[in-house]
């Protein structure tokens, strides 16, 4: 148990990542697209690998572009399967993300000697190495941890995206047809949201891993959803939960010496299941006024 500069940096970065994910996750959940978020975060893998291979480093813009393209491609394939090939939605999601993820794993294995990227890193990241992964300028001056900068930039972009498109996102989330009638390009807004999700996935995968991004996208909004019915408080609660998960996750991981990202999700899971348990106890079972009516007997 210590609180030093490294701990602060890790917690700060983790909070930033979980807030970015949570903000997007709220809208994904309201659109009943949580599983699409899951699919996207798996599907960006081949884009990351190809970007890695092209740019030769994980700092390249190519990685982000590659992942962005793959994320949009995954959304388009899912839509195509659903609308044109008439495959039911759950199956189209399942087939698309497993195929793209499989291609990503095959690429990693084929390029294993050429890129510095292993399966484990992509899957569950390692935020603990963050303080030693510094951004060093050409002049040799250290600017601090690189991933923190990425997380700040990511959060700024996500916040700007949501701030600018708040009305459109809300409208199309709750009533897509009404949005279409008053002239909102619902399809384009949907694609924009998906591209933000893919971008966030890429920017966070080094820290928390592609699959745990899903947890941060889904679990805090779902937990907050159990407690509130208002969109604004849903968003605030999600952000608060994100910060709590980051702090608690870090110290729990410190205690049992395990993956920080994994522990963040585990903490989130405990909060989620606890909330569900608490909220599901219906007033009736405490005060118990109503009894079920017995059917007539003759």
């Amino acid at each position: 148990m210590s609180f030093d500069q490294n701990a602060f940096l890790i917690i700060f970065t983790a909070s930033l990542i979980s807030i970015s994910c949570g903000l997007l996750g709220v809208f994904m959940m309201l659109r009943k697209m949580s599983m699409t978020g899951d699919a996207i975060s798996h599907a960006v893998l081949p884009g990351i690998v190809i970007g890695f291979f092209v740019s030769g480093s994980q700092r390249g813009l190519e990685v982000i572009i590659g992942a962005g393209i793959l994320g949009i491609l995954a959304t388009l394939i899912i839509n195509w399967l659903k609308n044109k090939a008439k495959v039911q939605l759950d199956a189209s999601i399942g087939i698309t993300f497993t195929l793209l993820f499989a291609i990503g794993i095959i690429l990693i294995n084929m390029l294993a000697y050429k890129v510095d990227l292993d399966q484990e890193c992509v899957l569950y990241g390692e935020i603990a190495y963050l303080p030693i992964d510094l951004w060093i300028t050409d002049a040799g001056f250290s600017m601090g941890p690189r991933i923190t900068y990425l997380a700040v930039l990511n959060l700024l972009l996500v916040a700007a995206f949501i701030f600018l498109l708040y009305k459109e996102l809300t409208l199309t989330s709750f009533d897509e047809n009404f949005g279409l009638v008053i002239g909102l390009p619902a399809g384009a807004i949907n694609l924009a949201l998906m591209s933000m999700v893919s971008y966030t996935t890429v920017s966070s995968f080094e820290a928390v891993g592609a699959i745990l991004v899903v947890a941060l996208l889904v679990v805090p909004p779902a937990t907050a959803f159990l407690w509130t019915k208002k969109l604004t408080s849903l968003i605030k609660l999600t952000c608060g939960l994100g910060i709590f998960i980051a702090i608690a996750g870090y110290y729990m991981a410190y205690l049992v010496d395990s993956s920080i990202a994994g522990m963040m999700v585990a903490v989130g899971g405990v909060v989620f299941l606890g909330s569900a348990l608490f909220k599901s106890i219906k007033p009736n079972s405490i005060f118990g006024t109503s009894t079920s009516i017995k059917p007539l007997e003759n």
Binding site: M29, K32, M33, S34, M35, G37, D38, H42, L81, K84, A85, K86, V87, Q88, D90, A91, I93, G94, I95, T98, L99, F101, A102, I103, I105, I106, N109, Q119, E120, L123, Y124, G209, I211, L212, V214, A215, L217, V218, V219, P221, A222, F225, L226, A253, V256, D257, S258, S259, A261, G262, M263, M264, V265, A266, G268, G269, F272, L273, A276, S280
Partner: protein
């Protein structure tokens, strides 16, 4: 090439074992997956396959080595917990299905990763084998493990075959089953157990992340080829078994290559090929059928137009006039006229269009069907004469000669339709 011969002639007994194993588990999970696909619960398989990870790790920690019995039991229990939580959350909270599944999936996976890193840092030398559970490696399956996995796969296949009636009732109409006295709750429980078992036996060969594909893709692909449950199960089993064998072959030839991704790529190829090229339901054949139908309707409309002209006493029809009757469709109309001339229904003479005898009788047939249907709707369905046109406009293209004969006899060979227009017959003079 020699690798290929070596692999597929099964000179090596261990290869034969692995191939038998992967075939069995492929068929087993395809069977279970097809039912869950029909039940529209395909993604539950995805949740379960991620959720077995903490169980595998706990089993490993308790046994201290890669003991298949501990690992299978652990995986089964955590899969069962995830399934239970999913249905509990569904009935006790107002969260939507997809949010529940995504939450359960990622929470269990998160726990799994925590346990995995704890094991990693404990420095157990057996640890290396554990990564295979994430991406799968069929070649590395030991013979004694194979007996357990193969046995469970056979158990799944036998149970699903023996209780086919009950399980089909579960996925197609559970309420009906309940109303005729079947214990649907118990059947659902058995089905969930089978599904978890299918995931558990698949993970070592395919890996937790990709196991969902083995459950979803075969059923979805096979659904495009048939409407019969028996055939559906056979086709999906075949897709899955073939992909399994190809995946195993690849990781035999390239040892560091995990099996799972190749199996999934193969399966997805089958799936996408089915979506595109399957007869009747495939994208391509539906596109062709639609094109054919649109062409046919346009031809019918053109013939009708000329016939209506004849009825109102017009004698000659220039091509330009016909073009103007179908605004914004000049190219298509020109094409249709050429087609009709080619099939000897129309003739063209110095820019003037006329019927051939064959064309005239075809046009009469279409107009007759249209008016017969209008009359039928009016007389038998009591629909007002001004409401019958739209329906007839659609049915004139698809009524068969048998239906035409039936309509004629029902309506007693009528002379006039509800709008007092003559119903044309072949031997009329017009």
């Amino acid at each position: 090439m020699s690798d290929f011969v070596y692999f597929f002639t099964f000179q090596d007994a261990s290869i034969a074992f692995v191939v038998i194993g992967i075939t069995l588990l492929g068929i087993g999970s395809a069977y279970v997956g097809t039912y869950s696909f029909l039940d529209k619960k395909a993604l539950l398989g995805d949740a379960i396959s991620h959720a077995v990870l903490p169980g595998i790790c706990l089993g490993f920690m308790l046994a201290g080595e890669k003991n298949p019995i501990y690992i299978v039991t652990g995986a089964f229990l955590s899969g069962a917990l995830a399934t239970f939580l999913t249905s509990w959350l569904k009935s006790n909270t107002r969260l939507s299905d997809d949010a529940i599944i995504a939450s359960i999936l990622s929470i269990f996976f998160g726990f799994g990763v925590v346990l995995l890193t704890v094991i990693q840092k404990s420095g157990n030398p057996e640890m290396a084998g554990l990564n295979q559970f994430i991406f799968g490696n069929a070649i590395a399956i030991l013979e004694e493990d194979l007996y357990i996995y193969g046995g469970l796969a056979i158990l799944i296949i036998i149970t699903l075959t023996a209780f086919r009636k009950e399980f089909s009732m579960l996925v197609f109409n559970a309420d009906f089953g309940k109303s005729i006295g079947y214990p649907m709750g118990a059947i659902r429980l058995v089905f969930n157990v089978l599904m978890i078992l299918a995931v558990v036996i698949g993970i070592q060969a395919i890996g937790v992340v990709l196991m969902a594909a083995l459950l979803i893709a075969p059923g979805a692909a096979a659904r495009f080829w048939t409407d019969k449950l028996g055939k559906l199960l056979l086709i999906s089993g075949a897709f899955s078994a073939i992909s399994g064998i190809i995946g195993t072959y690849v990781s035999f030839v390239i040892p560091q290559m995990p099996t799972g991704p190749w199996v999934v790529v193969c399966l997805s190829l089958f799936a996408f090929a089915s979506f595109l090229f399957a007869p009747k339901k495939g994208v391509l054949s539906r596109y062709i059928a639609r094109r054919y139908y649109l062409k046919k309707t346009h031809q019918d409309h053109l013939l009708k137009l000329i016939f209506h002209g004849l009825e109102s006493g017009k004698k000659t029809f220039s091509i330009e006039e016909i073009y103007q009757s179908f605004p914004y469709k000049k190219g298509e109309t020109k094409h249709t006229i050429d087609d009709l001339i080619k099939s000897d229904l129309l003739t063209q003479n110095q820019g003037l269009i006329d019927f051939t005898p064959k064309g005239k009788s075809e046009a009469k047939r279409i107009v007759r069907l249209h008016r017969l249907w209008e009359l039928y709707l009016n007389e038998y369905m009591n629909i007002a004469p001004d409401h019958v046109h739209d329906s007839a406009e659609k049915l004139e293209h698809i009524l068969t000669p048998e239906l035409e004969a039936l309509l004629e006899s029902r309506l007693n060979y009528p002379k006039l339709d509800p709008h007092q227009e003559a119903i044309p017959r072949d031997n009329d003079e017009l």
